[in-house]
Each structure stands twice: as C-alpha cells, then as structure tokens.
Amino acid sequence: MEILSHDILIIGGGLAGLRAAIEAKKAGRDVAILSKVHPLRSHSVAAQGGINAALGNALTPIKDTWENHAFDTIKGSDYLADQEAVEVMCREGIERVIEMEQWGTLFSRTEDGKMAQRPFGGAGFPRAAYAADRTGHNLLHTLYEQTIRLLIPVYEEWYALSLIVEEGECVGILALNFFEGTIIPIRAKAVILATGGYGRIYLRSTNAVINTGSGCFLAYMAGVPLEDMEFVQFHPTTLYGTNILITEGARGEGGYLVNANGERFMERYAPRLMELGPRDIVSRGTQTEIDQGRGFEGGYVHLDLRHLGGEKIIDRLPGIHQISLDFAGVDPILDPIPIQPAQHYSMGGIPTNVDGETPLAGLFAAGECACVSVHGANRLGGNSLLETLVFGARAGKKAVEKVETEKKIPRKEVFEEGLRTFQSQLEELFERKGEEPAFSIRDELKAMMTSHAGIFRTGSGLLAAKEEIRELKRRFLKIVPKQRGLAFNNEFIQYRELEGMLHLAEVIIEGALAREESRGSHYRVDYPDRDDVHWFHHTMAFKTAEGVKLDYKRVSITSYLPKERVY
C-alpha cells in the first residue's frame, strides 16, 4: 500500500487554504494542498465587493479603528459572535490586507494612491477595501501566485474521502485521485480543512456548484461537532433566474432597492441605514416585499443603479455590469437589475479556537467551513474574505507549531484499516439493489431546504422538514451508481456529496427547530424575538447513532453585552 506523507495537508485551495499553506511553507514545513478543483476554480474567486479592515483610508470626520470594526461585527452578529475572536480578526486584519496589496492584489485606489474603501452593510465607516467588484478574483489569483513562488505542491482534482483518526488524533486522510480512480492514504501531522460552504443544499444559492460542505461532513463523520449550523446567510441581492451574486458593493456605491410600486422599501425595515442595513435585515425586507405582493411576477424586486451613471457603473462595478448582461440580458446602466434573496454563506461550521484548532487533535479548520465564531448569527459583508486570510494564516502557523512538537509516528495499520473499511463500504454500495436516482433526491432536498429552512422558518415547517430528511435518507440507501470503479466516476462523487448534504441539512434543521427565538439570520415566525435568557449560546450538533444530538456552548464576551439591534 502506497502512503503519501506531508507535515501539513490542507484540504481546499481557496483563500483560507492557500493562505494557510503559505504560512506553513514560509516556516519551512513540508506542506501540500489537496483540492477537488484547480485552486483558481475555488469559490473564493467569485467574491465581489470587498474585504473589511480599519485602514482608515476613506475621508471621514473621525478615523476608523479596529475597535469600531469589532463593534460593528459583534452588533451585526446579533451578539452571538465570540468577541475575543472578533477582536483578533479586526486587529490582525489590517496587516493581512496590507500584505495582500504588497503581494500584488490590484486594489482600487483613493486620490492619494492608497487602497480605496467603500461603505458596506452594517458598517459605521467605509471599510471594505476592494478591487473594483472582483475582489475575490484578485485576492485568489494573488495568493495562488504566491504558492507558485513558494513551489507549494497541489493534488489537483483529488477528493478527500475520510479523515484517519488514531487514538483521538487526526493523522491523515484517505484521498481519491479522481482521474486514476486510486484511493491513496496521505499521512499528515496536521490536517487543515478549508473546504468552504455548503450552499448547494439550497435550491437558490449564490454558491458555486462545487460547494457541498464536504469538509464539514468529513469532520462530522469523524465525531467533531458542528457549531451554529442553523445560522445560514441569505444574500438580499442575487440575480433573478440564476442567483448569481450581485455584490453589496452595488448598494455601497449608492444603488437602491425598489419594489414593483416604485418604493425604496428599505425605509420600512432599516430607516437609518436603508439599503446598507445588515444582510439578514435587508433579505427579510426584500422577501417580505415579494411575499406580500409588492414584487414583480416570478418573485423579484429591482436593484436600481441607473442614477449612478454609466461611468461609475463601469468603473466601480464592471463585473456586475457584465454579469447582468451575460446572465439576465439587462444593462444596469439602462435598466434596473431583477434580484431576489438566496442562500449565500454559512456562519456555522467546524468549531475552532482563534488558532484554527478543532476539538479533534491534529485537525484544523479555517474559512467558511470553520466556525471561530466571528460572524455569530449574521455575517457582515466584507468579513468573510477577511476571515479566510486572518484565520487561514493563524491555522497555518499553529499547525507548524504542532508539527514541530509532534513526535508520534502513526501506525501504518491505521491507514490500512481505513482503506479496508472504505473498500468494504464501496463493495456494499456496488452490491446494492435499487434504482433511486441521486439527482432527484438532491433536487428534492434543495427545494425542501429553500422552503422550510430559508429566510422565514416555522416550527411546523421545520418538523415537516425533519420528517422529509428522514425519508430522503431512507431513499438515499437505494442509490446504486451504475459505473464501477472510481476513475471519473461522477455518480460516485455525487453519491458521496449527497450523503454529506443530507447530514448537514439535518443538522441545520434540528438546530433551527430547537432554537425557539429569532436571532440574526435565523428567523422563527413563531418566535419573532431574540431571547437572550434562554438562547444566548452557540449550538453544538453531534452525530450519534440515534441521529443529531444538540448541546450548547457559552458565547465569549469581552466588551459588549447584548443590546437591541437598531439600524
């Protein structure tokens, strides 16, 4: 049996994964990245509007500080974020963003040549540094360029199948070389999960097709709980039809949200900040307009940029201009963009401390798949890119420390056992009888999640969803991939990913059903208020033989006690 070996193995080649790899490589460690797509195809590339850091480059009466950034983030999180972690992110973020500029990211500029910053939702200052509206593209290409400079190897188009755990410690993974169809154990003294979100369990999502939550599932299967999974962000402005993201930066630059009656409806929901309220509030407002019949036929409203003028649109929002033309046939200079809310981001994920360590020794997580928690119940726009850099770097650094003190060499047998277990499961799968097509289960799951675990939730809807998940899981056992062998076996991959999607959906539903309050993105129509007496804590979901078991963890507070959120 061939075993590959590295000091540090990173699963996922988006911003968090690449940033972790760079940190580890610079410390002289043997680090490798494994990704199911070429790193440049990672979903980070699609981020648009900006990355927050209190650089203080915008002309404002008072200079922005990282403390202001921290407060906005905590308030935005509906006080569920861990305040110590938020402080780390906002303080260190400044250096991480400047570092990206120095590595070559082409940030837009102020008149005096500094990085320009634009207003973003829920922020008291223009704080989002941006590269036109292609900030993710620019950051990802910059980090990838650095991995080229540092000669960091990448297992491209490989899949992580499972974590190998020996005596309570993660010692590597089982990997699938997709083109060869071979299953190869990879030993690592530290494994960092940086696999992004799970948006594709929803029918309407801004996420790339590849975002199925595989890292969260790997951790969950290995006994790691998942934190705050019921907090799912819905982005208010996604292109009607395809749900491709239309950046918050469009509103940051002055765009209006307008209903079918021609009203700027955010006046009803966030009279002071209007379109630049935090995402949970703007999404609910937008969905309410649609639900109450003030949207357009088909279920959308307008994002109107026309008053900004062609020059500003082409200069600051060229990507949005092109996306609207390419995917909706609308020129935003001449016509409003049809938009509707859709799933966008996962606030929850694999629990970590500020160094990316998870409850499982040897296993780290960073980026969207992790829950530090810096976003709490609702993430502010511009903070996810920041999180990937700050906590990617910190996870990489801590993994290096772990590798330097690690003396233990895991037994070869544990990898052989892992491989045997996997192969027997595989044989079982191919021996199965049944004709259930995976795609129909997947499509039903997506529709069900969007209708029952979406922007507005009810106890009865979530109970129905819980039942439906059980049924889908039963039907899942009747899927039989027609192709044998694992090389280019799309059906097998879809099967594996669907298994993960069903589990994650179940965790979201259970967490949402139990949480009888409304906080941030989690809105219960039957419990419309926040309840700090009973629910001021994080949800921890464990996998057990009987299903999901929920437990709770306290929220860390440094400076700010929960207050009512008014915008």
Partner: protein
C-alpha cells in the same frame, strides 16, 4: 421536473418547433474501443438556461459518465471552457436559446491533450504560466503600509488582471497551434500585467523572457484571442506594446553603441 427524451424517440426539433436542444458531444475515453466517438443528446430547455446546465441535465438524467469541468457557473472561475460549434467559449456563459437552430457540436478545448470527454490537460498552459514568474516582485517597504498607486495605473493593469486563466485564447491561437512552446495569449497578457505594474521592480527581465519566437515575436497578431476572451482581456494589445518596448530598448542601445563608437 424537466422531461428528457433520448435521441431517436422524438421528432425533429425544428419540425415540431419545441424547445429541444440537440447536442452532438465528442466523447473520449482512453481504453475504450473506439476511444473517441460522437454522441447525440437531446435536452428540453427552459427559459434562460445555459449550456452548462444542459450538460448537468445530461449527466444527471441520461449519461452519468459524461465528464466536464465546472465550478462557479457565473463566468468567473474559468473551468468550463470548451468548443461549441467551432467557437471556444465558457459553457456557463453560453445561452442554449442561441443554439436551437440546428444540432450543436460540443468538443473539448482544442490544442490540449484530452483526458476524458470535455476535460483537457492544461499542464502546458500552467507550465507556461510558471515560466514568466507570475508573482509581484516589489521593492521592500514597511509591512505597515501599502504601495501607493495612481488609479490610472490600476485601470491600465486591470484590463489584464481580469484574465481568469480559462485557456480559451489558447484554443483559438494559431501560434500556439503551430508551436506548443509558444507562451500563449493569456500568459503574455500576464507578463504584461506585471510589466506595467509600477510596484514590480522587473522591467528588462520580463521583456527578456518574452523577447523570442516563443514570446511576443511568435504572435500572428490576428486578434483571435481578443475576440474570444470571455472577460474582454486584450492579449494582443499587451503583446504589441511589449514589442514596442523591446524595439525601443534595442534602438536606444544601438544609438548608445553608435554614440560610443563615434567617440
């Protein structure tokens, strides 16, 4: 739920004028005999559907073995480059409504070895990318502050930074077709991006690296790459500008040599 029908069981889509898309897909599976074949699929379309969605429908409901790359479905990741009716495009950015007139031929992106069906081996592309050292080499400054840059400079670089490295321009490039060592449009555009970046200390090094037949002098200046680029990058413009810079350097060194000789 969309209904799908296999080829042969339906009437000619043009005759019945129903929204049926006919795709003739070039398949490739090493080890099969024959390893290359054409296969016809029909997909019932819905309004606004793109080609990538149609391929997913086929993979889901008709043939799970059909292989192609995908990720963002929003024309920013560069995964789904392929040849459609002889034109190199991103599948996600191609509307199927524009393909209903006659059967549509889908082939892998040309000039790269095929791995499986529509998946090609882009190693050459990324080898060339690495050759130009595609990372900023700036002068050392304090870690506390950014480089200053004029917005006008940024706009000039931005035209090239928008490249998503999808490889489409290589598929359509006659110079790359003739010589696989030709650095290629996207890579030369990348070299130009660093050349014009005021933060990058390299100047002669970059010009030196592209001053050969595999570099800027291999370009046929037919502007194919400019026409097909899904992100409106203009590699030829960068190539021509680099040629100009090289010629100016040559000319000035010639002048200074003459000047020295005459002294």
């Amino acid at each position: 739920m969309l209904k799908l029908r296999r080829a042969g069981k339906v009437q000619n889509p043009r005759a019945m004028k129903s929204p049926l898309l006919t795709l003739i897909i070039k398949r490739f599976h090493r080890g099969k005999t024959p390893q290359e074949w054409f296969e016809t699929f029909q997909v019932e379309i819905r309004k606004g559907m793109n080609l990538l969605e149609a391929l997913f429908r086929i993979q889901d409901e008709q043939d799970g073995t059909l292989s192609f790359r995908y990720s963002c479905r929003g024309a920013v990741c560069g995964s789904c480059a392929m040849r459609v009716n002889g034109k190199d495009v991103l599948a996600c950015r191609t509307h199927v409504e524009d393909l209903l007139d006659k059967p549509t031929l889908i082939e892998p992106l040309p000039h790269f070895p095929v791995i499986r069906d529509l998946i090609v081996d882009l190693s050459t592309f990324f080898d060339h990318y690495r050759k130009i050292e595609p990372y900023l080499q700036g002068k050392l400054i304090s870690s506390q502050e950014e480089y200053r840059m004029e917005e006008e400079n940024r706009k000039e670089i931005d035209l090239y930074v928008n490249c998503i490295l999808c490889g489409i321009c290589f598929g359509t490039c006659p110079a790359f077709e003739m010589d696989r060592e030709f650095l290629g449009p996207a890579i030369l555009a990348k070299a130009f991006r660093f050349l014009v970046d005021p933060r990058d200390i390299r100047n002669e090094e970059i010009l030196e690296a592209v001053n050969n037949q595999q570099g800027v002098w291999g370009c046929k200046t037919v502007f194919n790459c400019v026409r097909v680029c899904p992100k409106q990058v203009s590699p030829t413009r960068g190539i021509v500008k680099m040629r100009g810079k090289i010629l100016r350097v040559r000319l000035s060194s010639l002048v200074s040599r003459r000047h020295q000789q005459s002294n």
